[in-house]
Symmetry: C2
Subunit: 379 residues, 2 copies
DNA sequence: GTTACTTCCTTCGATATCGAAGTCAAAGGG
DNA sequence: CCCTTTGACTTCGATATCGAAGGAAGTAAC
């Protein structure tokens, strides 16, 4: 993360603006409760933010038994964020306002193997396109962020030892974007962004795991409401050894990695061998819905293997929620099999209040997550 | 945790006092740096704390190139904490000053199966003994805490579903201690306390796992410098399924739990079967040091199994440190086998800066941890 | 309609914090 | 030795925050 220009706010104002932007607070009273500031101080700061045209007052909210609150909203003209979610073959691009609401989202084909210079330049051009076509006039861009389908060193914004991204190793992604934009820049692993985006859909749950079941298997971890990065590699579960009868060598050099059995790529390979050819992992969901036996049994087996890995993590981490996203998550047998494995084997204490459910935030969750993290950099 | 009386400090004073108590700061300048307060504000607050006789000025520290700092210490008369670490057959009892330094520690035999009323009353009597014999006159007791060898619900201070503690299930431990002391009371799982105590010995490491290898296998997790509780059960790894040839049923009702193979209890049973009888898990260390082949091979195997479980957690959680404590940790082959398994199988990115080492805090780590957590409740 | 109560928000004097400037006390270099 | 530099505090006026009190605007019950 790097960046220079920030919103023209001082100390306490930033915190208040953030509470409004994230939707946690809609009135001065809520701001006072959540920020811990005195109600009088909140009123003063809000007055300044209204003056600065970063907030607007808009009608009134619903009464909670007394006077109705005056509803506060982020001014539409406060700023924009340009965010991307880079995948192996596609990119999702989005333009968000500062509250994280998408103004425009589009998906384009993009070959990540073309190398970082090409892809990032192309991405920046696409951002410029989006801004030209969808940005209201006079609204400034405040930040730029992208998700990367591989490990990212959070401090330097570099890609570190990615598996399917030739030419990207150790490339300073954040620096290059920063050179073009002179704004706060965010570069983060895609599963981590997805976790942050998803977390907003689970208010009250401070500890969650977000599983991304697509071509690969990714996982993002939210601890105490914040993204857990560890030393930059946290959340990786794809190269955990699973208990199986057969033995398969994974690309990482170890035998019997979860990814070699339960990823979308592995499922596609197994189905092809059984005579059922599909192009993309998402197509497997269609096969399952059409009750193609090979597909259902493969997906169920993948769910069981994933679930067995999760048992360890559930006992250890004891999350409130496991949200399952990614293109395979639409296959019901997958989640059913995960649930079965976890609930059977985990400690009752750990599963007592555990919810295992499909992700709620939808396809844009990584974009929303990028917006949420960028907001922290902007304020 | 419950409690009423606190130290007579207001807002900012508490934070400063804590920084001194935890040893993070020794001078006004350090307090200013760490607290984020202005140097002038720090001086004012420190003046008040000196006035209140909670801090004392004591000589001067070493210069960092300029004027020497005036060293600040917690006043010995600021208060005491009474803490205990309840085990299956023994209790360690300690009297700490507010900076967590033990004034007195002793270990007594104690049968936890006697039930909570008996044990807790006995414990309180033991605290009173300690206070009579070792407390300087006029120094008030500020808090009471104990570790429990089983799961504890952090909110209510109750024991929840313990395995080897008949009669304790759902017992309101915190309430009973609170009824006798009218002070802040802390009740926490023993491995968690150990983790908190150990964390202080690893400055700069914000994410650590502390493994307790004794009669059972426990684990405490520090995330971002703070104890991770999850929903109250976090850190449990003893009932994770391990990969083995044979199949053993665990007391929890599932086959092949880690505890059934790698705990001190399991090792003792296996050694007895091989004709080598020992009384306590700690005795196994002696056998290993005497190069008794059965013992060494059993311990090494236990280390391998523990290490294989840790691989999953290292990839997922990506800690800075895994500290191994408990009575078995003195056996070098145990840690060596853990290291071998983790370094062989984990992602290089995850093990790049990972340190796997014996616990540094020694036998009193749980007592120190109880002191550290109590300090938060007291300030 | 009247009364009681709740919640939202503002006013205003008391208090806490900040930060720039200054003092104090050491280390290090000719 | 004297000077410069560095860091550790203090002083003091400017600023931000607090909190008690009160007005504003609603709900709920009778």
């Amino acid at each position: 993360m790097s960046g220079k220009e920030r919103l023209p706010v001082t100390g306490a104002q930033g915190g208040l603006l953030r509470l409004v932007a994230t939707g946690q607070a809609e009135s001065r009273a809520e701001l006072a409760r959540l920020s811990g500031l005195a109600a009088s101080s909140v009123s003063l700061r809000v007055e300044e933010l209204l003056e600065a045209r970063l907030l607007v007052e808009e009608g009134s909210g619903t009464s909670r038994g007394g006077r109705r609150p005056r509803r506060l909203r982020l001014a539409p003209s406060a700023g924009l964020l340009a965010v991307a979610d880079l995948g192996a073959h596609h990119v999702r691009l989005g333009l968000l306002d500062l509250s994280g609401t998408p103004l425009a989202v589009e998906e384009r084909a993009c070959d990540i193997t073309a190398g970082p210079e090409t892809v990032l330049d192309w991405m920046a051009d696409a951002f410029d396109d989006l801004l030209r076509t969808h940005a209201p006039p006079g609204v400034p861009l405040r930040g730029v962020g992208t998700g990367i389908p591989g490990p990212v060193d959070p401090a330097s914004g570099r890609v570190v030892g990615p598996s399917r991204m030739p030419g990207w190793n150790n490339y300073p992604v954040a620096d290059q974007l920063g050179a073009r934009y002179d704004l706060p820049v965010l570069v983060e692993n895609d599963a981590n962004l997805m976790a942050v985006g998803e977390a907003r859909s689970w208010p009250g749950s401070d500890n969650l795991m977000v599983l991304k079941a697509g071509t690969g298997i990714g996982c993002g971890v939210i601890v105490n409401g914040r993204l857990h990065r560890g030393r930059g590699a946290a959340g990786d579960i794809s190269h955990v050894r699973v208990r199986t009868d057969s033995s398969v060598m994974c690309a990482c050099g170890h035998p019997d990695c979860l990814e070699a059995y339960a990823s979308g790529a592995a499922l596609m390979a197994a189905l092809a061998e059984a005579g059922v050819a599909v192009d993309r992992p998402a197509d497997i969901v269609g096969l399952v819905n059409d009750a193609v036996p090979e597909a259902t049994s493969q997906v169920r087996n993948a769910g069981r293997l994933i679930g067995e890995v999760l048992t360890v993590l559930v006992n250890f981490f004891n999350p409130d929620v496991i949200a399952v996203g990614g293109s395979l998550s639409a296959a019901e047998p997958l989640i059913a099999a995960i649930r079965a494995a976890v609930y059977e084997r985990c400690l009752p204490l750990a599963t007592r209040d555990l919810e295992i459910a499909p992700a709620r935030a939808g396809q844009d969750s990584a974009l929303l997550g990028a917006g949420a993290l960028l907001l922290d950099a902007v304020l």
